[in-house]
């Protein structure tokens, strides 16, 4: 399992980075999405992999060892929502930039593609 998740993180990172280096704003936005998947999975992996142990405790005393680590989950939950917000902002900035400069190049001017 660990090796599969590591490979997944690796593939997502590599594809995301490749897109991040592209000259068109849309590509960069998609790259950031892929990168955020990779990072979120990585953070979850930092709590180690547990199956069938969601951190929903009973009403009695809870044994931390019996549940998946809730802390990375809380971190990632906010990260997911924030990444939606940043994507939205980027999309709007890209639209405005294209309207103002007439190109969707990240530098606002069409040099070499």
């Amino acid at each position: 399992m660990e090796i599969v998740l590591s490979l997944a993180i690796g593939v997502l990172t590599a594809s995301g980075l490749w897109l991040l280096f592209r000259p068109r704003t849309f590509q960069v936005i998609l790259g950031l999405s892929l990168l955020s998947y990779a990072v979120n999975l990585f953070i979850i992996a930092a709590g180690r992999l547990r199956t069938d142990a969601p951190p929903i405790v009973g009403k009695g005393p809870a044994d931390p060892a019996a549940y998946a680590d809730p802390l990375p989950q809380a971190l990632v939950l906010t990260a997911i929502v924030i990444s939606f917000a940043t994507t939205a902002l980027l999309v709007v900035v890209l639209m405005a930039s294209r309207g103002l400069t007439g190109t969707d190049h990240v530098d606002g001017e069409d040099g070499e593609p």
Binding site: L5, V11, T13, L17, L30, N40, L49, R50, I82
Partner: protein, 974 residues
């Protein structure tokens, strides 16, 4: 009357006055000065009220906790010395305020002037009253800032701007050095408290870090007190209005450095390095200042250099390290403040009444302004050290100290001569000041015809000159007890016996003083005439400190530009390559040097389904990267595939909340990007004329691929190494154990979000709100590219078809497009909304919560928009996203603040169970209200963002010219 809390009033009153003055209208000159004056006088009274306690040897302290976790207290402290200093700051402050009322022109923004002046006064009091070093450094920087504002008050004047900037840079630089020095002292003594530091003197002096700390602190004091070689800023600061010079550049700001030296004298002095550095700097400043003062043509310039030289004298005295010298230093600090402030005021009156400060143009003013002339002459005589005036007494003490042997070096031998020489210079420029201004033939061709200054403008000068006389004639009855008090609090057991009498018999200092007076007078008689033709001082004038300063500044700026040119390429791609490349390299370094190994923990067996999911997910990611340029829609779908794999992984790995939220956010992100696609240009594959890619492009892509692959491999390796190692014991344990007992919820993730880390979540929803508002604002001014303005291709085709057919009207096809799914989508609205509320309600105990619920609710609204079109929805439903957002933020913050009412810290949650018939026990937690706030904010932001985007399509036809026909078409947005 010595409640320690009154100290806080003394400190805060000037700041309060500054705020009031700042709010006054420009014409409020009288009000501003009246308020400022009464506050200063009130300060004098309050401080004077502490006299009995201070005189009894008490150190008054008032403490409040400031940063207790760092061991820092906000401490105000008053002992004999700081009492005298505070009184001086406030008393001269009140006189300067009265003077400034008449000096400032009604055309200037006078309330602003008084606001700055009072704020400066407060900052200066802050330095004097500070009970710990960090606090002192804070007020120290504050004086630098306000002096910057005051020097640059006439900001339309280039000289004022330059002078202000120079003063700020020099004193600010010193302030930073001083702060580092204080941190070192704190490290040595373990405390920043001044009383503790003073008590730890021997420890500090014996410590290895003593020398660096000393040098750093001295840099702070020397830059502030304009000591050589940092003296050059002071003459340039003369561009300030004269009341500012009278206050800052004689009595307060420049005295802050001296104050610090005296304050820390018991702890830092007495070593060889102290003696060498401080004495040398003081001596150099004394001579350079006095020499340069002789050759100034500007009245204020002369006074500025004279101030430099007197500050040098005080520093020199402190450097000598003997208790008697310290007494002389404290005494001279007070004396200098009185006569120099009055001289600056005289210079201001002359400038005010004649329109010039040029010594070469001024002449014979004594006939026109006899009172001012008399007052200035007495003050100048005090500056020259004429007997029966206060300057004489402290200068006598200085000369006596100069004669004493202090170190056994050559300095002992030359000091008496140099001291006499400097005193001679002082006599020289004092005579020049008086003679060229007030005597000689009547002035010709002055900008204004000279006359006596108004009565109230002279009053502050009169008081100061009276003080000079009284202290000079009956020192023991006037300054005596106060000086004794100050000296005792600094020197403690080392207080020497000294006498304040004016006549000590024919002693050697007396002879030196006489020699200086006669020598100075003779020298003026011999050379005075020639000075008017010289435009810079001989010898010293060659040093050009100002030019050096500017050259250093220019070098720094150039270096910064160069560095920016290297490291800050204008192209984003290059920046990103550099950034990511560096990050990958740095991430790889530990592996390269220490080797890579997997950890000891066993790994779980690979589940084939999980592997298959990620095989698809990985292919999706690679495909998206491949296709993002030419096939945006395909790439978007593929990204969705990768996102789906991620969501499934979350659920698989026991994170149901994440899986749920990811899936929902995936949907809104998809809609968002689809809305954005509409505005992107068509991408044509044939870019290269020869139909093949140039080598350079291929190389660059190869480089990108390499970095991307290296980054991916690195992340995979890192993740694997991490997952095969045991976890450290983290705070998660606490969260799991206390989620139910303390948070009242069984869903630990939700309890963390809305309770344990509620403040983070509050911050996050604030960020969401800000982003949504930014999106909204950006889109209000949105101008699309010309080729995107046309209706989408499909809609044009549909409309053409409608026009061509007889029985169809415009827009019919569009209206019937996907009719059945649209009806279903509309019916789903209440269902999804109910589901959203269900998610919200159960969030505290089961997967769900405000975030997931909020996104679900916004999806319901989105579907409605997609089904019916923007206009259809908005004619039936008022969705007010801004209200949702503000309601949510208010509710979340209000829930947090409600805890205050119960006396708990912000965001403390409370929960209990309410028994509701039929439903049973329902947990009622305040965290749940907080979660409703989160829900509302998420709904508001998501809907606002997406709707603002969607609106762009229906806004456009209105702006377009010549196609009214299409403007009436029922366009759809999503």
């Amino acid at each position: 009357m010595h409640d320690p809390r009154l100290l806080l009033a003394v400190l805060s009153l000037p700041f309060l006055g500054a705020m009031i003055a700042a709010a006054l209208p420009q014409a409020g000159r009288n009000w501003a000065s009246a308020i400022a004056g009464s506050i200063a006088v009130a300060g004098v009274v309050l401080v004077a009220g502490f006299y009995p306690a201070v005189a009894a040897g008490e150190v008054i302290r008032s403490e409040a906790s400031w940063l207790p976790s760092l061991g820092l207290q906000f401490t105000l402290r008053l002992d004999g010395f700081t009492w005298l200093f505070a009184l001086m700051v406030l008393a001269i402050g009140s006189l300067v305020i009265l003077y400034a009322r008449y000096y400032m022109s009604p055309q200037d923004p006078v309330p602003r002037f008084f606001a700055f002046l009072q704020a400066f006064m407060g900052a200066m009091l802050g330095i004097v009253l500070s009970g710990n070093l960090i606090q002192l450094a804070f007020f120290w920087e504050l004086t630098s800032l306000f002096s910057f504002l005051l020097i640059g008050y006439w900001h339309h004047n280039q000289g004022a701007r330059d002078g202000a900037r120079m003063a700020l840079i020099v004193t600010g630089f010193g302030g930073v050095c001083m702060l580092i020095g204080f941190l070192l002292i704190g490290r040595i003594t373990g405390s920043y408290d001044i009383d503790a530091v003073l008590a730890a003197g021997p420890v500090i002096r014996a410590h290895d870090a003593y020398l660096p700390a000393l040098i750093l602190i001295l840099l702070g004091a020397f830059t502030k007190s304009a000591q050589f070689p940092f003296h050059f800023w002071l003459p340039h600061a003369m561009a300030a209005p004269t009341p500012v010079s009278a206050y800052l550049h004689s009595a307060t700001m420049v005295k802050a450095g001296v104050f610090l030296l005296i304050l820390l004298w018991p702890a830092l002095s007495g070593t060889e390095s102290w003696y060498l550095i401080v004495t040398a700097a003081g001596l150099a400043t004394l001579l350079v200042g006095a020499w340069s003062a002789i050759f100034q043509q500007d009245l204020k310039g002369l006074l500025a250099y004279s101030t430099i030289s007197h500050l040098g004298l005080i520093t020199l005295l402190l450097g000598l390290g003997s208790p008697l010298a310290a007494v002389a230093a404290i005494f001279h600090t007070v004396n200098h403040a009185t006569f120099k402030a009055s001289l600056f005021m005289a210079a201001g009156i002359i400038d005010h009444e004649t329109g010039t400060r040029d010594l070469r143009r001024l002449s014979g003013l004594a006939k026109f302004m006899p009172i001012t002339a008399t007052l200035a002459m007495v003050a100048a005589a005090a500056m020259a050290g004429v007997p029966l005036l206060n300057g004489f007494l402290s200068k006598e003490m200085f000369l006596a100290e100069a004669l004493e042997a202090h170190s056994g070096t050559i300095l002992d031998l030359v000091l008496p001569y140099l001291a006499t020489l400097a005193s001679g210079f002082s006599v020289f420029y004092s005579i020049r000041f008086i003679n060229e201004t007030f005597f000689g033939p009547a002035p010709v061709d002055l900008p204004r015809s000279p006359r006596e200054a108004p009565r109230w403008m002279r009053l502050p000068m009169e008081i100061l000159v009276l003080a000079c006389l009284l202290v000079g004639i009956v020192p023991a009855l006037t300054i005596g007890p106060f000086l004794a008090l100050a000296v005792e609090s600094v020197l403690g057991e080392r207080t020497p016996s000294y006498s304040l009498a004016i006549w000590h018999g024919f002693s050697l200092p007396m002879l030196m003083s006489l020699a200086a007076l006669v020598g100075g007078a003779l020298a003026y008689r011999r050379f005075g005439r020639r000075l008017g033709t010289m435009d810079r001082s001989p010898v010293i004038g060659r040093l050009k400190a100002r030019r050096t300063f500017e050259a250093v500044l220019a070098t720094i700026v150039d270096a910064a530009r160069l560095l920016h040119g290297w490291l800050g390429p204008h192209r984003l791609q290059v920046q990103l390559r550099l950034l990511i490349g560096t990050a990958v390299l740095l991430g790889a370094l530990p592996f390269l040097f220490l080797g890579y190994s997997r950890g000891p923990e066993p790994v779980a067996l690979i589940d084939p389904v999980f592997a298959l999911i990620w095989m698809i997910g990985g292919l999706c990611a690679i495909g998206a990267a491949w296709q993002a340029k030419f096939h945006r829609l395909v790439a978007l779908s593929l990204i969705g595939g990768a996102g789906l794999a991620t969501s499934i992984s979350f659920i698989w790995l026991s994170a149901p909340d994440l899986g749920l939220t990811q899936l929902l956010v995936e949907i809104v992100t998809l809609v968002l990007l689809l809305l954005g696609l509409r505005w992107l240009p068509l991408r044509r594959p044939a870019i290269w004329p020869e139909a093949r890619m140039p080598l350079i492009v291929r190389l660059r892509r190869g480089q990108d691929l390499l970095i991307a692959l290296a980054g991916g491999t690195g992340m995979a390796a890192l993740a694997y190494a991490m997952m095969t190692r045991p976890t450290a014991d983290s705070i998660s344990r606490y969260f799991v154990e206390n989620a139910y007992p303390k948070g009242g919820g069984t869903n630990v993730v939700n309890v963390i979000l809305v309770d344990f880390r509620g403040f983070d979540t509050l911050g996050e929803i604030t960020v969401l709100t800000i982003v949504a508002l930014t999106v909204f604002t950006l889109l209000r001014r949105f101008r699309p590219a010309p080729e995107s303005i046309e209706l989408p291709h499909q809609q044009q085709r549909q409309n053409e078809f409608d026009r061509a057919e007889e029985d169809r009207s415009h827009g019919d096809t569009l209206a019937h497009y996907l009719f059945v799914p649209r009806i279903i989508m509309q019916w789903l609205f209440p269902v999804i909304l109910t589901f959203a509320i269900y998610l919200l309600m159960r969030g505290h105990d089961l997967p769900g919560g405000g975030f997931a619920g909020g996104v679900t609710a916004s999806i319901a609204i989105l579907l409605l928009y997609m089904a019916g079109g923007t206009r259809w929805v908005e004619s039936r439903l008022d969705i007010l996203p801004l209200r949702w957002m503000s309601f949510g933020l208010l509710l979340a913050t209000g829930t947090g603040m409600a805890a205050w009412i119960a006396g708990y810290p912000f965001l403390t949650s409370h929960f209990s169970y309410a028994a509701i018939p039929l439903i049973g026990d329902v947990p009622i937690a305040s965290a749940w209200l907080f979660d409703i706030g989160v829900f509302a904010v998420v709904v508001g932001t998501t809907v606002l963002t997406l709707i603002a985007l969607a609106h762009q399509s229906i806004r456009l036809p209105l702006r377009r010219k010549g196609s009214e026909e299409q403007a009436s078409a029922p366009e759809r947005s999503a």
